[in-house]
Point group: D2
Chain length 112, copies 4
Amino acid sequence: MTPALAPDLQRSLDACLTCLAACEHCATACLQEDDVQMMANCIRLDRDCADLCATTARLLMRESPLHAEMCRACAAACEACAQECGQHQHDHCQQCAEACRRCAEACRALAA
Amino acid sequence: MTPALAPDLQRSLDACLTCLAACEHCATACLQEDDVQMMANCIRLDRDCADLCATTARLLMRESPLHAEMCRACAAACEACAQECGQHQHDHCQQCAEACRRCAEACRALAA
Amino acid sequence: MTPALAPDLQRSLDACLTCLAACEHCATACLQEDDVQMMANCIRLDRDCADLCATTARLLMRESPLHAEMCRACAAACEACAQECGQHQHDHCQQCAEACRRCAEACRALAA
Amino acid sequence: MTPALAPDLQRSLDACLTCLAACEHCATACLQEDDVQMMANCIRLDRDCADLCATTARLLMRESPLHAEMCRACAAACEACAQECGQHQHDHCQQCAEACRRCAEACRALAA
């Protein structure tokens, strides 16, 4: 319904929203695992990454001139979260790691 | 990639994200109109409605037990924004009003 | 520096910011406890309560006409978080429970 | 009530919250000015700067290892907002510009 953004903004926006959903889901699922202790750092990074993806998504939606700076910070958060989540075999972690990698890549490209 | 939510949660989530994007876009577009003065209340409500949709979306993504309370507040914001935006003939306002109405309806249903 | 809000708005704003900081700190501290498993629900509610306090604080700062609806949702989140945190003896949980109780009270009063 | 953060984190946190409040207030006040048109870019930047300050504040409250990246983006937003607001003589703009400058400085120092 909302008019399409420029393709590179749209690509990053989609990646941010997918990553945000994956991080929120992963944190919730980690908190239900038997060994929560082992997931503590994953939960911590999911929380940060979700916040940065959410803020980045909103700057992209509004075509803010400041989106490049925010994309750079978001990419760093996504990379940190991908590295941590990628070490766990739970489906929610593997899916989150993949969403983080794609988002980091899209945000890096846009910030360049 | 992220596992599907229950259909009613997913429906509200989709409505919140669409409404969020519409509000962000509408506020940006209103600020570029010739008669910004006339759009002041629209910008104000877009800002509030976007914040409530964003918070609601995240609670739905994480399947929070508190989502009903948040959906109720979100529906009120969407209704106020729909009423204001619906009075303006700009495409971005009409699209925003429509997104707000759908989101209000989905959130009311979920909160019931 | 910023002009003072009306006293009742300012009181709720202060309570929201104190509660936000307490929830963020409590979640981080819970994730470092030996028995994270026992803290899972506390972390979950800290996360939600922080998000609602943050959104409420911003609506109060901007003197939004929609602050009452948001305060109502925020009070519900604070009450749920206070009840959970109050059951744990860690200092961060007790402090968070107290901040949640004060925030719930201020938000309920403002929404009335 | 919440235990004090390290002094440099606390200094940036205080600066972010003051800047957030100033941006929210400035945007609301700009929307009530007679010449809203002239304030359009100020409103736009207040909106972005507020979002980045809010996200940065929360990362600092939770002592996130990712705070440096976020502080860098926040400083850029504050600098852009200070430059725009500083050009307007309204009290709310001058106060916002000053809060943005202090926040930019604190965030740059922390990110270094």
